[in-house]
Subunit: 339 residues, 3 copies
Amino acid sequence: MSRTAEELAKFLGCAVEGDGSVELSGVAAPGRARPLDLIYVDTARNLDRAARSQARCAVIAPGLTLAEKTLLRSANPKLAFARAAAWLLPSPAISTGIHGTAVISPTAKLAPGVGVGPYAVVEDGVEIAAETEIGAFCFVGRGSRLGKRCRLHPHVTLYPGTLLGSRVILHSGAVIGSDGFGYVAGEGKHWKFPQVGEIEIEDDVEIGANTTIDRGSLERTEICAGAKLDNLVHVAHNVRIGENTVIAAQTGISGSAVIGKNVAFGGQAGLGERCEIEDGAIIGGQSGILPGKTIRSGQIVWGTPARPLEKFKEQFAWLGRLPRLAEQVRKLEKAIIDK
Amino acid sequence: MSRTAEELAKFLGCAVEGDGSVELSGVAAPGRARPLDLIYVDTARNLDRAARSQARCAVIAPGLTLAEKTLLRSANPKLAFARAAAWLLPSPAISTGIHGTAVISPTAKLAPGVGVGPYAVVEDGVEIAAETEIGAFCFVGRGSRLGKRCRLHPHVTLYPGTLLGSRVILHSGAVIGSDGFGYVAGEGKHWKFPQVGEIEIEDDVEIGANTTIDRGSLERTEICAGAKLDNLVHVAHNVRIGENTVIAAQTGISGSAVIGKNVAFGGQAGLGERCEIEDGAIIGGQSGILPGKTIRSGQIVWGTPARPLEKFKEQFAWLGRLPRLAEQVRKLEKAIIDK
Amino acid sequence: MSRTAEELAKFLGCAVEGDGSVELSGVAAPGRARPLDLIYVDTARNLDRAARSQARCAVIAPGLTLAEKTLLRSANPKLAFARAAAWLLPSPAISTGIHGTAVISPTAKLAPGVGVGPYAVVEDGVEIAAETEIGAFCFVGRGSRLGKRCRLHPHVTLYPGTLLGSRVILHSGAVIGSDGFGYVAGEGKHWKFPQVGEIEIEDDVEIGANTTIDRGSLERTEICAGAKLDNLVHVAHNVRIGENTVIAAQTGISGSAVIGKNVAFGGQAGLGERCEIEDGAIIGGQSGILPGKTIRSGQIVWGTPARPLEKFKEQFAWLGRLPRLAEQVRKLEKAIIDK
């Protein structure tokens, strides 16, 4: 389906400059764009590439211009472009209708418009709200409840009792609701501590490929609305991740950690048990936060053990200056002896 | 099914104080417990929460008391609670009977009471002992042998020839017996070194979601009895992990490492090739152990490269004192010049 | 099938010493070898083990000798052994023929000799070249194109539009072509940036279990010929990994990083966005490379932030000497005061 620049401008709430009748059917980077693709330009640095693009229409920041192209003005061109992409290119269906090979319990309740792909398994007592799509080989354990318009790519596993809000996106290989890692040592062995708590993923969460999120042991694991987790992230039992927090790939979060809203994690960060990360903190890639520590709201930390970024940088600089410092000391010793 | 406090006390070998006839059907944290749930109290700090709980029965440490509740005395309340949980709440079945969609080779031998879930695949020559449960979408490669009462959650992959002891628990997405990462460089490319060795997981091992364990190349990869591996752990070819060793999430163990008994790994630790970790050592989270290094029995190490914890802490403290040290040197220089 | 030492020598281009008629049907480590197994000896240190082996034939380095065994001379015995293994023991079939339970779109094109295992799903418009084997539960998304003689172990997911060259090996749980992790913040939430780019894996690439490789956002993710990725590796959108680069387990590569040829990564390394790693560089295990940094051709780096290995070692040594340096300063202060 194609739209005109004018229709798109109306959808985005942008002003149009130039020919509003140019048609658009996709989005692209400037160097790969074809005439029907939308591009975006957020800084003057990207103007040249955009000018050479075959695209006929661009979302563009105030103060920039491109000859011979239709321009959609936006204070945040990248955001407008993202919204335009979702509007021009709705996500392709993961599954349409109920595939004949899907194994669906007679006690499961599927709302109208739910899609279930080949070889998916939906167990007893599951409830799936309207327009949610379940990919091939997904496993939806008994008693799970899924909101509207979720997208489960192929090979997602939901352990029994998993709760998903609406518009949750789960990528392939994600495992939700597995047992937490909890044992009690005694009599020369490790006894499994009960892992019978809850697991809830709220609205608009997206979870990357092969990420694992354990259920609560006796409490609840909770991923709050709008949080985004990259691939291969580990979330242990009883963790709470606040609204709109963003966690890059391969980060690991230990049991009972409490993470606020709008926190940002670099990749491969590690949190010890019962950490508290307050709203808006930024955790640098590969940082390690000790068990029980609190990172204050808005703080930026780095390193293992994690410390404020400025302190890390200062210490790192001193580390580089050590040979010189040692040389100074040697000279002083010599000077003292000489006297 | 519910039991009385008295029956549970007998199972646990505890003394009962108060009404032994109260019924129990589950376990919970104090704040979430309903009247039929068991709770536990291991320190005085948790007494208040427990006193306010709806639970009518608690496992409790010596010297503590709670009015109006039935008390089961235990020197290790958390352990008693874990044992009680397993007794009151047997793990729900992963699969019961052989699902009609399972593809099972005619040459596979399944003992009585084995469960195989929908769309599982069991290849030629596989042997599965009594009461083992195979979840949906599990793949059991040819010639694998599984002991009694194993639990394979949905989406587990066993490469051909995998050996599992009894009571092994494998969480979803675990991959056991994949090829190790071994190549020989020559003539401008990497030639695959044969990865045709063995893989054995002994009794009572539990392996987390999306963890990967490679088979031996020419030798054997071996996870000994009672070891527990968390999610997203990587174990390379020819590794040996000793009895009751515990490995937290996202730790990676390189080829031919030898790990003793009762070793504890924090999350995201990394071991180089041919490391040796002796019995009872403790490897801090995110530590990195260089190839070929030995960590002695009972040692606690941290950092990359890993060093004894006390040394790490001392060096870290010095790092923080460097600005002051430099200031001292500056003053000394000035003093010398002034003289 | 067994071969003679003489036939093998001809295949490898080696000289034979001793009885060329001994038969060979497999490969093994010296301690485990049976009479029909080939072993190899690359250093004098391994001669004793080899001498005690039941094996009757060894590939051996120049200048070494073993009594009573047939010797195949090679300047690179390990390479010759790897080549011999592939010749004596062809990889066992993952799938033979099209299993009756596979769901294959009528618009998919499968060349002769393609194998598709039980419960695999091959979507619309897929093209699979000759002799490629698709394991059980593999998902091949619409429009994907797979070259010749690829091997997809069970439980591999290819998102729509994935391109694989020839002889690509994908281990179980690998996810190829998932959405990159890209959002635009605005109006108090994270908007999904379009993840509609391409993903191409070239010839002779091998990818480990549960590794995830995201598609391009607007551009392309590309794993070039001969690259080898271990288990649980993360590759983000728009990354390019050059020919014959080798990446150990649990390494994570952020968006738009460009990695040259013949680069070697230790395990658990992390690369920031838009890094550039030039040909032949070596990135130590657990190293962290800051966003936008360049590592020069042939450099060896370690640590976070990554620095040249020599510098890391020097700084690490200084860290250990700090207590002594502080003691020197204390003595100087005392000396000054005493004067």
